[in-house]
């Protein structure tokens, strides 16, 4: 990689061991992935829940946090993905004291590095959405795909170490979706039925993700007959990123870089094409529901709920009573508004629990299952059903309405019509 004098200086350790490690880490990554040089980034977003960090990761952060202040501070706005608990509700989740202690240590270390503890995976809805063409270093797949696709910003998946490196150095290796050439479509998906509910959008994302198959594929969707809202794009993108490890999609006539299909597929260029219809979406949903007739809990999470989703949930719960655990997980930015507007009170009056600053699967999901006796989980998040099976759960993908109905019927799931 070509290095500037400043980057050479960082690598030599002139600005301390934190920057030396960070630039060296970025060079190793950049070389592997074919970067010629670095690109300045405007923001960084770090995924670093303690279930992922482990004790080793927290100790690693603490060593960095003990450096002199002038050697350890991030130089661009650097924010965080959800944490591993909501301290206010940790007892309800049966999080063990050691988990909370590890979380506190990680938070203290991040704060010492100058990182803003936003604890959210919907920063594009709540903190500061990136603008078209802006280079950023984001570290949650749902955040990256939304920023790239809906906002037209430029980011690769930046795992915690790399996002932290970007925060420290103010740059990232220029490969992947920082490059024009990588942002062109590699497959076309013609959608014959535009999804309605959020779980429909998630199911479509899952199908397209499976078709795409890996990080370097860029699907362009045609046939979407209306402009999806932010929450719909959120669920679609999060599922697409989860099932396919995809970081960028286009919707012809809708997303900013694909006002026309020709903008992302050159005339005469042969790219694989696929058709997806309602039957495919129903089949995906059915595949996650057919083995479940009763659930132990209902979870709305992954991504965190927007204020609009919080209100939808509160409306659905009015006058009803959840008789199994029902969790609504939102961001620390949405939660005060939900409190102020009475949404939290309405959800909790109906037996639900509002959690903030965490995400269900990033919060010791296996240990929560063991401590609470949870096994069968209903959610309207296609991303969550894709992840949570690995933690020992049997997930069902259902609409928000169906999830609420199950929560208010002792967990009994109304049969979904087979496709």
């Amino acid at each position: 990689m070509r290095l500037t004098d400043e980057e050479v200086s960082m690598r030599a350790g002139d600005r301390g061991p934190a920057l030396q490690w960070a630039i060296d880490h970025q060079i190793r990554v950049g070389r592997y992935l074919g970067a010629d040089d670095f690109v300045p980034v405007a923001q960084a977003h770090i995924m670093a829940d303690t279930e992922s960090l482990g004790v080793a990761g927290v100790e690693w952060l603490e060593r960095m946090a003990r450096l002199p202040i002038e050697q350890r501070r991030v130089c661009i706005p650097t924010i965080t993905d959800p944490r591993g608990t909501d301290f206010a509700a940790a007892h309800r989740l049966k999080h063990a004291p050691w988990m909370l202690d590890l979380e506190r240590r990680a938070i203290a270390a991040f704060e010492a590095l100058g990182i803003l503890m936003t604890d959210t995976c919907i920063n594009y809805q709540t903190i500061m959405a990136p603008v078209r063409g802006e280079h950023v270093a984001y570290g949650d797949t749902g955040v990256v795909i939304y920023a790239n696709s809906v906002c037209g910003a430029r980011s690769n998946f930046e795992g915690g170490p790399s996002a932290l490196s970007a925060g420290l150095t103010g740059r990232t290796p220029r490969y992947g979706y920082h490059l024009d050439a990588r942002r062109r479509a590699t497959l076309v998906v013609d959608v014959a039925w535009t999804p309605r509910a959020l779980d429909d959008w998630g199911a479509l994302g899952a199908i397209v993700g499976r078709l795409a198959g890996d990080y370097w594929q860029v699907p362009v969707l045609t046939g979407i007959d209306r402009v999806p809202g932010s929450d719909e794009m959120k669920h679609f993108g999060a599922a697409l990123a989860s099932y396919g490890s995809v970081a960028l999609f286009h919707m012809a006539g809708i997303t900013p870089e694909a006002q026309r299909l020709d903008d992302v597929v050159e005339a005469g260029q042969a790219v694989p094409s696929f058709e997806v219809g309602e039957a495919d979406i129903r089949a995906l949903q059915h595949s996650y529901a057919r083995a479940v007739d009763t659930v132990d809990l209902v979870v709305f999470s992954a991504p965190q709920l927007s204020l609009v989703e919080m209100r939808q949930l509160a409306d659905m719960l009015d006058g009803r009573r959840a008789t199994i655990p029902l969790f609504a997980v939102t961001s620390p930015q949405v939660k005060p508004d939900a409190d102020r507007m009475g949404l939290t009170a309405r959800i909790e009056a109906a037996g639900g629990t509002v959690l903030a600053g965490m995400c269900f699967y990033q919060s010791y999901a296996r240990e929560m299952a063991e401590a609470n006796g949870w096994k069968r989980l209903a959610t309207n998040s296609a991303k969550l059903v894709n992840i949570i099976g690995g933690y020992g759960y049997v997930p069902a993908l259902m609409s928000m309405e169906a999830c609420v109905a199950a929560a208010c019927a002792d967990g009994k799931v109304a049969p979904r019509m087979a496709p």
Partner: protein
């Protein structure tokens, strides 16, 4: 040392040897593994129930989210880590995680490496007798024990 050499487009980490564990499936530390027990835990994964500890994992593509970037580091610290990852296609997260953990990983072949190495046929996954992973190539070994 015997065996056919497969050259990778990119790689990092020290040279390692180990029994290969091969499947035409993806890899994500968060989605697929019980990292406390050292086994594949996602029921739909073709290696579900198999121990990955000390094995050269030969898989198709990096999948899932960003957590693997931290998790490889933690897995290595606890001694419950594969010997190496050999993938047809990586995503940046795997590279970033391997860089942090100083973990051996190579990727990008002119053949489907999960088909080239697979010839054992044990369990639900297919275990090759062995593989040696170098920074830029993989040797599928017939007699490695």
């Amino acid at each position: 040392m015997s065996g056919k050499v497969y050259f990778a487009a990119a790689g990092m980490g020290p040279k390692v040897r180990g029994l290969a564990l091969v499947a035409k499936d993806g890899f994500s530390a968060r989605y697929d593994l019980d990292r406390m027990r050292g086994v594949f835990s996602r029921p739909q994964h073709k290696l579900a129930g198999e121990s990955y500890v000390g094995r050269v994992l030969v898989l198709d593509a990096a999948k899932g989210g960003v957590a693997t970037a931290w998790m490889l580091h933690d897995m290595k610290a606890r001694g419950l880590v594969p010997a190496a990852l050999v993938l047809n296609a990586v995503n940046p997260i795997m590279v970033q995680g391997a860089a942090l953990a100083d973990f051996t990983m190579i990727s990008g072949f002119d053949v489907d490496i999960t088909q080239a190495i697979a010839n054992g046929g044990r369990g639900r996954g297919r275990s090759d007798p062995g593989a040696a992973v170098h920074p830029d190539h993989l040797i599928g070994e017939k007699e490695l024990r």
